[in-house]
Symmetry: C2
Subunit: 314 residues, 2 copies
């Protein structure tokens, strides 16, 4: 019953944590849809303030308001933003609603930023087509059950079933195969890629245990090795062992530095014997960053064209 | 070895598909990081052109260039964009690089849009702090192994293990429990929520099979029922049965309209007996839209404050 993430926090207006309430800056993210686009943009922008967000020197609270698809709801949120001294980042497909937001914010001195309008206008003039102005949940709009929709779901279901070396006989069905020692992030990386529509299988490399024969039978161009700095790996494994409630003894074998180094060496040898597999250093990378590297390599190999890119058609 | 998604396509400059190459509009997405932020923004904007994207009346190809973190790479991409008549949507943290992009594009008549700069500036002035100007992969930057990082990974691993009613004895450990008949999207929805840091368990409702006792013992405020229009469900189940290679007989039981309706009625009765569970209609909703609805309800219940919102601190 505790919040899912330590970053999530709930503030009522009569919060007792007054110092926090007065010091932290508030950012409202407002969308007629899910709000994920606004949240993604705000996250990227907040990355530019890591130097002062760390240790909460300049604390920021974000607040996501989804489904704000009429003027009444919008005005209620804007009024609340005024009370809390928040800025508003919004995505509102209906131009008249977006305009109301802009007007009301400027009237009440609320800093605001439209993150959908400018890019939509730029795309409209590039395509030579007018935008619909309809939010994603508009009546009559139907999410089509496209081939892409089914493929993405299939990719997620496939990837879940292959996790952690399960079903090695299915490696040939995967688009991408990840190999690495425990706690190199194979599982979250697999899932991230699966959500983008790739069928992923991951194979753990464990010192003293053999690897599935099929790993060496599949197209080596789709296999990626993951490696990591031993000190960082030890930290991650210690956290892991603790959260799994391992006893001290089991823990030492799994997260002792000698063992960690030896196991990484062992993985390194496997990689050296399979020089076609790219080896990706995950130290210090977020999951989505490693995913970007994997996909860049994956698509470069497929397309063999001058400018590395990932292309999609709409 | 086929591309993961039917939307992905690769065009070489000497493509034989000349009509497509001449008609489709090109959008370049360029980032010093992963490119996911630019991609997310472009996707939202393209939603405004669904009316002409459907059936490829106004075909669009997007091309993602990640890791463009110096002037040379940037100029190479911009030159290529000029050749292909593409527009460029970019996120470049270094203001001088962003400025180069702007200058070069305007010089060469390339439509372009900065989707990071404007929001970063707005946030900077709200916080009263200067942005670092450092891209996410900048040397010396380390992704900290924060509590949030570990919790998110734990949520993904938990969620995978509970999929499809596995380990009903663990339902009490979940933040969110989803219940619904087969093909209401429980698995992809669970995974989507897990990536956001929530531990999710999903429980299939199958006519004639009992439900785990634990489903009725956990906090009912964290349980969500999923429902769907029977005609749409039948379509999805038929696609599913085909892709699984079910024989005609097995298929009929699973995707015949009478059976589909009866099973949905059965689920409806379970939901009626547990009136605290919100029942969410997933028909016509994309996974991320259903996720937004679940999370809005989840947080509203937790915070019991006047303005429904999802809050995070940084
Ligand atoms: N498929 C779509 N069709 C129409 N509008 C969309 C689509 N996807 C996103 N949008 C719009 O883009 C903005 C961001 O969406 P969201 O990420 O759901 O908040 C909102 O104004 C949505 O209405
Ligand atoms: N944690 C972060 N720290 C610094 N910059 C970031 C961070 N996350 C994203 N950015 C920047 O935001 C833009 C979008 O990032 P991306 O989605 O990786 O393409 C890029 O210019 C990144 O350099
Ligand atoms: Mg794993
Ligand atoms: Mg399922």
């Amino acid at each position: 019953s505790s919040p899912a993430s330590s970053r999530y926090a709930w503030f009522s207006r009569n919060s007792s944590d007054v110092s926090e309430a007065t010091v932290a800056k508030q950012i409202y993210m407002v969308s007629d849809g899910t709000g994920w686009t606004a949240e993604h943009s705000v996250n990227a922008a907040l990355g530019q303030f890591d130097h002062c967000l760390v240790d909460r020197v300049c604390p920021v609270n974000t607040h996501l308001f989804s489904g704000i698809d009429d003027g009444d709801k919008l005005m209620e949120v804007i009024k609340q933003a005024a009370k809390e001294g928040a800025m508003i980042v919004y995505t509102l497909a209906d131009p008249s609603l977006a305009d109301s937001a802009k007007q009301a914010c400027s009237l009440w001195g609320i800093p605001s930023k439209d993150v959908l309008g400018p890019i939509t206008e730029a795309v409209a003039s590039h395509l030579g087509v007018n935008p619909s102005g309809l939010p994603r949940g508009a009546p009559g709009r139907q999410v089509p059950l496209t081939e892409e929709y089914f493929k993405r779901i299939e990719a997620v279901e496939f990837t879940i079933k292959q996790d952690d070396g399960a079903l090695p006989q299915n490696l040939h069905k995967a688009d991408i195969v990840l190999a690495g020692v425990s706690r190199t992030g194979k599982t979250p990386l697999s899932i991230y890629l699966a959500q983008k529509g790739y069928k992923v299988a991951n194979v753990p490399i464990v010192m003293g245990l053999g690897l599935p024969k099929t790993l060496f039978e599949v197209d080596p161009e789709k296999v990626f090795g993951l490696t990591i700095n031993p000190v960082v790996l030890q930290t991650i494994r210690r956290a892991r062992a603790k959260s799994l409630g391992f006893g001290v003894e089991a823990r030492s074998n799994y997260s002792e530095m000698d063992y960690v180094r030896e196991e990484l060496d062992f993985a390194g040898k496997v990689f050296a014997q399979n020089p076609v597999w790219p080896v990706i250093e995950v130290t210090g990378k977020a999951i989505e960053e490693t995913a970007a590297v994997v996909l860049r390599l994956y698509h470069d190999r497929k397309q063999k064209c001058s400018m590395p890119r990932i292309s999609k058609r709409y």
